[in-house]
Amino acid sequence: MENIYKPFITHVEEVRWETADTKTFKLVFDDPRLADEFTFKAGQFAEYSVFGEGESTFCIASSPTRKGYIECSFKVVGKVTNALKKLDKGDKVGFRGPYGNSFPIEEMVGKNLIFVGGGIGLAPLRSLIWNCLDLRDQFKDITVLAGARSVGDLVYKNELALWAERSDMKLVQTVDPGGETADWKGEVGFVPTILDKMNPSSENAIAITCGPPIMIKFVLQNLQKAGFAPEQIITTLENRMKCGLGKCGRCNIGGTYVCIDGPVFSAAQLNELPNDF
């Protein structure tokens, strides 16, 4: 019988500082066969580990269309992320996954897509955004609203620059009031406020959002104000997790386990959950 707790070994292929406290790793499986065979879907997550320090839960931030590697982005806050921070090219990282459900990409085909990300919440959306851009002709208009507390806190700056140049998508960037710099050319305002100003059409559209809980709360409100039905709004949740397998008992919201029933939920599904976030 297989050991469900045994991690695969990956090595760090590339390291990128996104902000002063957020890092992205490009990871490649040590076992070349696994590197070839490994598949996942946008929205899924994994348990990443530093041996001797422990495991931590993050989404897979790269697109499933980009084969042979995975990327993860993490903010340095706790024991494991502090240990991860110290790793460099060639260092080993344990990986268990992919776990959880995924974004309903089949339902998004032929639709206008609006992505709303705040801070590090852009990471799971980035997986899906690149997934959709790599299959660009399957979707109609693609709009991305990316926000952060300050210009320095914006993640994936290189990619934001790439997206800004593309003619087949629209990118709106914003920072919280007071977070702008002298040469900032984007919007200034909280993500929900800017979304309100954009007033996206709900017709044949799906909105996908992720960010801090308070941002998600107001983004959901403003999307519904703009005419989006709860079924047209998708978000991805996170809770403290250990196993990722529906056993260790801590990530549940009511009877729903974020690890096996989520992490991706529609606003309609969220409405059914008790107030236990």
């Binding site: 001797g52 495991e55 809980p213 056993k247």
Partner: protein
């Protein structure tokens, strides 16, 4: 037939079990606490008359307090990760009560749900369960709330009962139980059914009135935000004695442990009553106060687990009631919900 006469007493039966070569786990007094441990002689064993139920349940034989999941060795930049195989020794657990035997069937659902936990499952496969029917109960017991009786067979391979002459006899329940009974010294198959003493129906009458679990569940369905939780959990200390002694509680943590360049990744018991259990690294905590944590315990026992597995996460063993330092009684709390 499923009935076996036992030629001598309980201790001789334990001796016969020891002779099978299997690892025998039975209730003993260890540091003044009754719990299940591996024994090497029948003299160590507590007689069933000496305990209503053990302080610690037998779940730790399948789901230990702490156990290694993988081992690793770090050499420079290289890391070797080795799988760990659970102990494959044939094991017999004897002397546990029907509520504890039933609890294994409940835990089976969780550890084999979608992802199979080989550590739990392999030990379970290699173990034979011999329960002893209850000839006594105390004011904490409430097994009948979940359809369990003092002589329920659920989860047992063999059950030991007392006949009308006051002698122990064995009733086999599963094929595994039959196989063991047929080769056990001092056991003789009976041609006819052996009738048990009337004590079991007498004990059943003394157990607290069954909880109306369906009604409780529908109350829970509608009262997540009720003031009930603040009121009834006000005295909870969050010590988690209830969770650690419970035969069905299964929450765990996964942590690394290092000695120089070698280490283990371990699965350790954890409990929903602790504040850090759900605390995010950002500092946000969905269950930031004790009333939310106590609510989680009651909801998990009577609602969440039943919704997924069609079985409540409680067998009414009463350990949490006996151990609670502030006399918080889950039976009383559950009964109070529907009257609130």
């Amino acid at each position: 037939m499923n009935y076996y006469r036992i030629s001598a007493g309980y201790k001789e039966l334990i001796e016969a079990l020891l002779k099978t070569g299997a690892s025998i786990i039975a209730p003993v007094l260890y540091n003044k606490v009754s719990m299940f441990r591996k024994i090497s002689s029948a003299d160590e064993v507590l007689m069933p008359e000496e305990y209503i139920n053990t302080v610690r349940s037998a779940k730790e034989k399948f789901f230990p307090v702490t156990e290694p999941l993988v081992k690793f060795k770090i050499e420079g930049k290289d890391i070797q990760v080795r799988d760990i195989e659970p102990d494959e020794a044939q094991t017999i657990i004897v002397g546990l009560r029907p509520c504890d035997a039933a609890a294994f069937n409940t835990l089976d659902l969780l550890f084999s749900y979608e992802y199979k936990d080989k550590f739990y499952i392999k030990r379970r496969e290699n173990t034979t369960i011999i329960s002893v029917a209850c000839s006594k109960c105390d004011e904490a017991c409430f097994c009948t709330s979940f359809g369990i009786m003092p002589d329920s067979l659920e989860g047992s391979d063999i059950q030991l009962k007392t006949d009308q002459d006051g002698k122990y006899y064995a009733e086999t329940v599963t094929e595994k139980g039959k196989e063991l009974a047929s080769k056990l010294e001092g056991l003789k198959a009976s041609e006819t059914e052996i009738k048990s003493a009337s004590i079991y129906s007498e004990v059943k009458k003394k157990i607290r009135q069954p909880l109306e679990t369906d009604k409780i569940k529908s109350w829970l369905d509608n009262n997540f935000d009720s003031n009930f939780w603040d009121e009834y959990s006000a005295r909870c200390l969050g010590c988690a004695s209830c969770a650690f002694l419970c035969p069905t509680c299964h929450c765990f943590d996964i942590v690394d442990e290092m000695h120089y360049n070698k280490g283990f990744r371990r699965k350790n018991w954890d409990a929903c009553q602790f504040p850090v259990f759900t605390k995010h690294s950002s500092g946000h905590n969905p269950r930031d106060i004790q009333s939310k944590r106590y609510r989680q315990r009651v909801m998990h026992k009577f609602k969440y687990f039943s919704e997924r597995f069609n079985k409540p996460l409680c067998t009414g063993c009463g350990r949490c009631v006996r151990a609670c330092p502030v006399n918080l009684d889950i039976y009383e709390v559950a009964s109070a919900t529907v009257k609130y």
